[in-house]
Symmetry: C2
Subunit: 404 residues, 2 copies
């Protein structure tokens, strides 16, 4: 008789954004006349840039002719895309990363969910709290997190690194030594980040403790300050301790196009075993490449026209971020983020919990945000708004919030 993976049964409730979608749909059906503004899920709204649209049309045409048709992609991704990534995202920043260290995928969500598979079950993971829920959830599914305490909303075997107002949202080295450290910087959801020196501290800590860092740089394109690293490989020694995850979703609006990549340096070894070889094996066995059309779209991100157009797109969202931050401040809220990230992180007013504020905002302002507690226990009492709406909707949402 077959048995299920009962770690799944340990997961409390459903995935955060599925829950939000259900709540919004229910409200919407009950109140069909209300115009809801969504600043909840981190989904972009601006159309794909013209240079990328052009590249996709060209690739679609190629697929329609036998001489230019493309079947299965190379295991790690097309050379044209991996070269563009290496040149623009690494060599241009002085990082010595090579083409065979780049693994093209269908997005950073898949990679951040799957990367834990190449590690043993008995590793202790450490996560910033609050943070993107996939890190913990995927480790729960793998049986790596112990038991869940509904009271504290914490897992017995997860090391939480609280990031709150009290420590300026900067994680501190934990008391217990972790084996795998997830860092998402700029952070989702707090929108804050750390300096390059502080990141160097984490690299040194990982090397000293023989821990591995899973570095999620999905929001790298939104960094505006000088002393912030765009890649962990800007830090010395990172190649022996860090895996970097990158997404095209936020810098190029690819949430519905689906493309990402993971960097696993060849120097990253556990004893004699190369993690690069392990991830290559995982890719070769359980994945069949990102679509050719999408990989060509990714290449166009790095074209001169693409770069110019995407710089404007990022600036558009950051204008929203600025407007939200200022607007909320004017309305008396305590706000963070929005400088190096498209997320605004606010303290819920009074004694309201995150979900209470979510319900209130949905019912009275018809604005959807994301409850901070959905990102971890230390997110309780906070709330996330995204800058990914249209400028008009963003201003309209602010007007409604100010009226509360």
């Amino acid at each position: 008789m077959y048995k299920i993976n009962d770690n799944y049964q340990k997961l409390p409730g459903s995935y955060l954004f599925s829950t939000i979608a259900k709540k919004v749909n229910a409200y919407s059906e009950a109140n069909p006349d209300k115009k809801i503004i969504r600043l909840g899920i981190g989904d972009v709204t601006q159309p794909i840039a013209p240079a990328i649209i052009e590249a996709m049309h060209k690739a679609v045409d190629e697929m329609g002719h036998a001489e230019t048709f493309h079947g299965y992609a190379p295991d790690l991704g097309y050379e044209f895309l991996r070269s563009a990534i290496v040149k623009n995202d690494y060599q241009a920043r002085g990082c010595d990363i090579t083409v065979d260290e780049i693994f093209v995928s269908d997005g950073a969500k898949s990679d951040s969910g799957n990367i834990q598979e190449i590690f043993a079950q008995n590793n202790r993971i450490a996560v910033c709290d609050p943070v993107y829920p996939v890190y913990v959830d995927s480790n729960v599914m793998a049986g790596r997190t112990g038991t869940y305490d509904p009271e504290t909303e914490m897992w017995s075997d997860v090391i939480y690194m609280p990031c709150t107002m009290e420590n300026n949202f900067v994680p501190e080295f934990p008391k217990e030594t972790p084996d795998i450290i997830y860092l998402c910087l700029p952070n989702n959801p707090t929108g804050t980040t750390i300096t390059k020196d502080q990141l160097q501290g984490w690299v040194d800590y990982a090397n000293k403790n023989k821990a591995v860092i899973i570095y999620d740089a999905a929001y790298e394109a939104y960094i505006s300050e000088e002393n912030v690293a765009h890649s962990i490989y800007e830090c010395e020694g990172a190649k022996t301790c860090a895996i970097e995850l990158k997404s095209f979703s936020k810098n190029a609006g690819f949430t519905g196009v689906r493309l990402g990549y993971t960097v696993v340096p060849k120097e990253l070894k556990c004893g004699e075993v190369s993690l690069n070889a392990m991830w290559a094996r995982r890719h070769g066995t359980k994945f069949n490449g990102a679509p050719y059309i999408v990989q060509r779209a990714g290449e166009a991100v790095y074209s001169e026209a693409g770069k110019t157009q995407l710089k404007e797109q990022v600036a558009y969202y950051m204008k929203n971020a600025k407007a939200i931050k200022q607007g909320l401040r004017d309305a008396g809220y305590t706000v963070f983020g929005g400088v190096n990230a498209p997320y605004i992180w606010l303290k819920t007013p009074g004694e309201m919990t995150s979900w209470e504020f979510f319900d209130d905002l949905l019912a009275r302002a018809n604005v959807v945000g994301t409850p901070g507690s959905g990102f971890g226990p230390s997110g309780e009492g906070y709330f996330r708004l995204t800058a990914f709406g249209s400028y008009e909707n963003t201003l309209a949402a602010l007007e409604r919030i100010k009226m509360l």
Copy 2:
């Protein structure tokens, strides 16, 4: 100190098709003047059908305008695609499958590699031998297969169901009772299949023994005989014991477009636990949907024009299959398959092993095939050729093989 998943170290050698690619590249570099014909990897060569190209262009245009832009897709896939699947692949065949039982993915390789995650580690799996290597390899990575014996090339905890000339390539109920049964029908690599009555026998067996069947129907479009099921849900009782995997790679040439789906019926339950809910949770946590453009391409597969064009495409490949089968027979080979599948399965001549025949064929005829032993120990002494080449190349390859 972090530890790796050492199940990966148990995997012998690299993934079959990576090994073949390396061998062919090495030969090609050493013999740049030789024109190699590839009938090895099951990759298609015909361009994407016009109706699908048109749909993709339209979807690319939509992505370029704010009003029609699409961000994150719904967790399980777009309703328009899931409805088309239900209507054409199930309702039209009298199978009572509903939209919320369909999970759209980036392809059947991902799904067949990932589906084992929702099961406990201590399940015994049974596989046809030979078969598509991903079933066993993904279970090795999960630590479900015991130890490997290099002598027999078998895993201690895997139940092998030999499919050879002696039993007409039809798997028999194993002596030990399995928990999870992988069936790929029509079979890759043997190209053979079983009757609907025989499949009903497997469904009854699974229900009686509380086993679950992972049914890979990737080659369903190539079925030409009357009494063969196109879906396992044509059998009575399949909804309480079977998960079905489907691919668009072979029926629509999507190997480089990437689209597939999995059916997990709501009636499939382990005690009180719904496997449909588990797979939904996995999808929601570790996957972010297939690209919008690709899902629109999938929809076009079911349009009237799409259906007509793809019927021609399948016929084109089956004409190749017929030519290969007849040509090899004329040359004195013992051949199977090619009637309900695009694969020809042949007995290697004399006492040659599969890899010896591979090397010989590459060196003397410059034709690439796939060694049968790469699909499992009972594949030793057999060899797979695919009908996915162009007609011209297929005939040219046959001429060369006949000259050996």
